[in-house]
């Protein structure tokens, strides 16, 4: 993916959700929130044509969860399959205006499971009702937004990690600090593909979060039909440079 901080490479969204922009920050937040739910970046999946909300995806093959979900090196087959099964319309969809700020507001540190920012659409159960929308994405008429896609749909017990806020106050103040989120556009050379700036555990399926109408616009790729993301994008988790140690 190309990072796109500064200028927008996006066209004007084709299907902007019907909302009143900007009058009340609370409302905006609610709408962003509605767009944001469970996803951290990456998965793939079946498709929804966001032009009309008909689901065209085939059933996806879901492997038994092992040590990491959709780990690129060992579960690559699933990643490619789901990419294949995702419709062109979905892949090219760019209708949302989810922002990175809204994305991080749901998290306690980069990589933490986000909380559920919208009203619950079904009874307070364990599984499945979340995945009805978040496995495949697409337009939610009820929440008036495009649904972010989970990078780990094989995890069924969503509420194990994702909780809903019921109040906004704290029990006691906290002294919590965490790292800043990674900077975008970290290409090492002008025009070079940026490295992967985050951990891949449970977030190994790139197109869940970097492709499609439910993604955060700043991290959406401009070449979404290429399926082999990691031919160009490599993890960048080590801070230093190679140091040759004397072999004498």
């Amino acid at each position: 993916m190309r990072g796109k901080t500064g200028e927008s490479i996006m066209e004007k969204p084709k299907h902007e959700p019907m909302h009143e922009p900007g009058k009340k920050p609370g409302k905006i937040f609610l709408i962003f929130a509605g767009l944001c739910v469970m996803a951290l970046p990456f998965i793939v999946f079946a498709a929804i044509s966001y032009e009309s909300p008909s689901i065209v995806a085939a059933e996806t093959h879901t492997p038994l969860i092992e040590s990491q979900s959709l780990d690129f090196d060992h579960k690559g087959n699933t990643i490619f399959e789901t990419h294949d099964q995702t419709s062109k319309e979905y892949i090219e969809g760019i209708s949302t205006d989810r922002t990175l700020e809204a994305f991080y507001m749901l998290r306690q540190y980069p990589g933490s499971p986000p909380y559920i920012p919208h009203k619950e659409l079904e009874a307070d159960g364990v599984e499945m009702e979340c995945l009805t929308c978040h496995a495949k994405g697409g337009w939610s008429a009820e929440l008036k937004g495009n649904t972010p896609v989970t990078p780990h749909p094989e995890q069924l017990s969503c509420r194990q990690c994702h909780v809903k806020m019921t109040v906004d106050s704290l029990f006691v103040d906290t002294d919590w600090m965490s790292i800043m989120p990674p900077k975008l556009g970290r290409s090492h050379l002008p025009g070079a593909p940026p490295p992967i700036a985050h951990d891949l555990q449970a977030r190994g399926n790139c197109i869940a979060c970097h492709v499609g109408p439910g993604t955060v616009s700043a991290i959406r790729v401009d070449h979404p039909t290429r399926g082999n993301c990691r031919q160009c994008h490599v993890p960048d988790l080590h801070p230093g440079l190679f140091q040759q140690e004397s072999t004498f």
């Binding site: 017990s157 194990q160 106050s169 006691v172 906290t174 600090m177 989120p181 990674p182 801070p239």
Partner: protein, 771 residues
């Protein structure tokens, strides 16, 4: 090894220099966490077991400088394979509540005031000394927890039992796991499960007994769901007294009336025998039949005593006993239809199905807790579904080291690290390893937990040191024990990390280091010992609980027994402690191995872990061809005749509702840690009372209205939750106990299982009033 603050500052300075060069970050401040200069590229990932439940997930803590800043699941840990629950993912935030206790506090003129740590430790030691001189050694006590790190519990046991010579050592695991322990001892002669979490990947059927795993053991629960999804044929049956998230995710939810699990378990055995599903070969070779006393009481009176007596019987006697438990008869007692009872029996009885049973507090916090543990083992033993992959009666643990510390180190009044105080050989062994005279170790157990707090109230105990637990929220019939602890002439020391209702009543508060601020070990539900390094420095004057005990022991003159250096004491204690278990039935992994790995299961023999005990294929201590239940003198597992007996207090016309209490996903126990985690508090800010919609309707109670819950012991006002997360049946209410502002334990009853002395927090009678 301990890491000094200076070393951390040094490493931080080094990191900052690199960070400055890398300038990786945009200058945006996102809501949700504070801006910091800590760069993500500098995160170091360090392994530790999770701080919370008995599942024992492996975590990787993201460390930047001297701060813990992130968490991910440890993919190398077979317990959770890289996944956590919401508490685990946010666990590091428990370190950073603004009201962290960083200085010692001493009560002066009625108020707790900050004091130098040395002064506080001196005072603790002198007060102990004085109490022992004036009131005798059995007037001092320590009350710890299943969240004690192993060295904490070991140091406590050695100091109190070995050096001072009192058996006044108890832990909150008494009210959490004691029935599981007595269940294991009476059925198998040795504590802790024969199986392991890998059973989940082999079983065809899961039956959960009064166990809301979706919230209490979420990582294991979602592992069951993943297996069900990938295999297609796997079934999950939720057998419970209330409808929960687990019920909703299960294939079938069967509700029973409180306490009648005893009758249903017997009815399942009746059906298994009637249908000829008994594994005759297994039973004839590996099982013997026994009966114990009946009408055994409830322990609500001070000085209650009970001792069971086993009598061997034959299969025919057992079969005759079960005639009282036909499905039709039991349907009347339990409210479970005869058809559902037969269905459960058929699942256990089907020779082609591997069955795993899970349970935790529903069966353990039960006035017949030992019995119901026995009865579920009976089922598995009759059909021979035990000690093989997927066939597993599995007692889940609540706390991260209830097994590792309380059960294995033996921080209970009757226990020693190996064996019990009543046995001379065990005392001899302890005296030798502890380097104390044999006569120091008193052969008579003193007080179990409830009786210990009664003794504090009565004045038999005058000094109590409480570590890593919050009894002024969790004791049942709380008012009596809080008033007792506050009486004149009582001296209460509390080792704590945050102010709690327990530290509020303390005379001295010692500031404790928390979890990854010190080195230690936990032991989880599946016999897995897990080491954690000190990952970040201790704030302020905080001190490791083990070291607090060592400091006081030395002040009491036990330098010889507590000789270790601050650099290596955790390793030294491990090496000394594991001498107690140096046999093939319980050998523990060496320190080096534990430091390197995400936990190791015991028995650890010749470099191999033991996944399934009592089975010679997997267990080096087991002899013979198929099974060897070596814990019992007859080398057999014991089936027990245990009848249905009613609860200590059942609803009546004055108090028409059952009160059931428990936990919720977001909060750990009394919330003293998790309520300081922003997301967990925001998701679950206060306790509530779940009421069945029909009951609520008939009383004019609506969702969110205030309700007063009243028992014969006390009352508390709560917000009603109708059709909320859980739904109790008509005639029951449920209240989570985490909320120190709504103390439901003022209402609960201090009745316990006469064998295990574990309290039943799940059953007492209450009435409701609109407030």
């Amino acid at each position: 090894m301990s890491i000094t603050r200076r070393a951390f500052i040094k490493s931080l300075a080094l990191n900052s220099a690199v960070a400055a060069a890398s300038t990786l970050f945009p200058g945006i401040i996102f809501a949700g966490w504070e801006k910091t200069d800590l760069p993500s590229g500098m995160i170091d990932w360090k392994k530790t077991p999770c701080r919370f439940c008995g599942t024992g997930c492996g975590l990787l803590i993201g460390v930047s400088g001297d701060r813990a800043v992130a968490v991910k699941g440890d993919p190398n840990c077979s317990v959770n394979k890289g996944l956590c629950c919401v508490k685990g993912y946010h666990s590091v935030q428990i370190l950073y509540g603004k009201d962290r206790i960083q200085k010692a506090l001493i009560r002066k003129n009625g108020k707790l005031v900050e004091a130098p740590l040395k002064e506080a430790l001196d005072l603790v030691a002198s007060k102990m000394q004085e109490t022992i001189e004036k009131q005798g050694k059995d007037a001092v006590s320590i009350y710890g927890s299943g969240q004690w790190s192993i060295p904490d519990g070991y140091a406590a046991s050695k100091l109190f039992k070995g050096c001072i010579g009192t058996n006044n050592v108890e832990a909150n695991a008494r009210v959490c796991m004691a029935s599981a322990v007595t269940g294991f001892f009476t059925s198998f002669g040795l504590d802790e499960p024969m199986g392991c979490y890998e059973d989940i990947d082999h079983a065809d059927v899961f039956i959960t007994w009064g166990n809301n795993m979706a919230e209490m053991h979420p990582v294991l629960f979602s592992r069951m769901l993943a297996n069900r999804k990938s295999k297609g044929h796997v079934e999950i049956i939720d057998f419970a007294t209330r409808t929960t998230r687990s019920s909703q995710a299960s294939d079938k939810s069967i509700l029973f009336k409180p306490q009648t699990d005893l009758a249903v378990a017997n009815a399942i055995c009746y059906e298994i025998i009637r249908n000829n599903w008994v594994n005759k070969d297994f039973v004839s070779k590996h099982v013997s039949f026994h009966k114990g006393k009946t009408n055994i009481g409830y322990g609500t009176q001070d000085h209650f005593k009970f001792k069971d007596k086993a009598e061997t019987v034959d299969f025919e006697t057992y079969k005759k006993f079960l005639e009282d438990y036909t499905p039709e008869k039991v349907e009347k007692i339990s409210g479970v239809s005869a058809m559902d009872i037969r269905y459960l029996a058929a699942l256990y009885g089907d020779p082609d199905k591997k069955v795993t049973s899970f349970w935790c507090m529903g069966m353990n916090q039960h006035t017949r807790g030992t019995w119901i543990n026995n009865l579920v083992y009976n089922i598995h033993l009759l059909v021979g579904k035990i000690s093989t992959p997927g066939n597993s009666p599995f007692s889940l643990t609540g706390q991260p080291s209830a097994c590792g510390t309380v059960r294995e180190v033996g921080t209970l009044t009757h226990k020693l690290p190996h064996g019990v105080v009543m046995k001379e050989a065990h005392r001899k062994m302890a005296a030798k390893i502890w380097n104390v005279p044999e006569k120091n170790i008193d052969p008579k157990p003193t007080y179990h937990t409830v009786e210990m707090f009664r003794a504090l109230d009565r004045g038999d105990i005058r000094f109590m040191w409480i570590q890593v637990t919050n009894p002024m929220v969790t004791m049942p019939n709380l008012r009596r024990y809080r008033d007792g602890a506050k009486k004149d002439g009582r001296f209460v020391v509390v080792s704590e990390i945050y102010p709690t209702p327990t530290s509020d009543i303390a005379d001295v508060v010692l500031p404790s280091a928390l979890w990854i601020e010190r080195e230690g070990f936990f032991g989880n539900s599946e016999r897995r010992t897990q080491h954690n390094d000190q990952i970040i420095p201790m704030p302020g004057d905080t001190m490791c609980n083990t070291w607090q005990l060592i400091e006081v022991a030395r002040r009491l003159g036990f330098e010889k027994q507590f000789p270790w250096s601050r650099e290596t004491y955790i390793e030294d204690i491990w090496n000394e402690y594991t001498r107690f278990h140096d046999n093939p039935k319980h050998r523990m992994a060496p320190y080096k191995e534990l430091k390197a790995r995400a936990g190791v299961q015991w028995p650890f023999v010749d470099g191999m872990e033991t996944k399934w005990r009592y089975n010679p294929k997997y267990d080096p201590a087991a002899k013979g061809k198929d099974f060897d239940f070596y814990g019992k003198p007859d080398n057999r597992a014991w089936i027990w005749m245990r009848p249905y007996e009613p609860a200590a207090e059942s609803p009546d016309s004055d108090y028409p509702f059952w009160l059931n209490t428990g936990r919720v996903l977001e909060h750990w126990h009394t919330g003293s840690m998790t309520r300081r985690v922003p997301i967990l508090h925001k998701a679950m800010p206060a306790s509530y009372v779940e009421i069945n919609p029909k009951d609520a309707d008939s009383m004019g109670i609506t969702n969110g209205s205030k309700v007063k819950i009243i028992s014969r012991r006390g009352s508390v006002e709560m917000t009603a939750s109708i059709n909320g997360r859980g739904n109790p049946p008509k005639g029951m209410v449920f209240v989570p106990f985490f909320d120190e502002n709504h103390l439901i334990n003022e209402v609960t009853l201090d009745a316990f299982c006469p064998i295990s002395k574990q309290v039943d927090y799940k059953k007492c009678a209450v009435k409701l009033e609109r407030a």
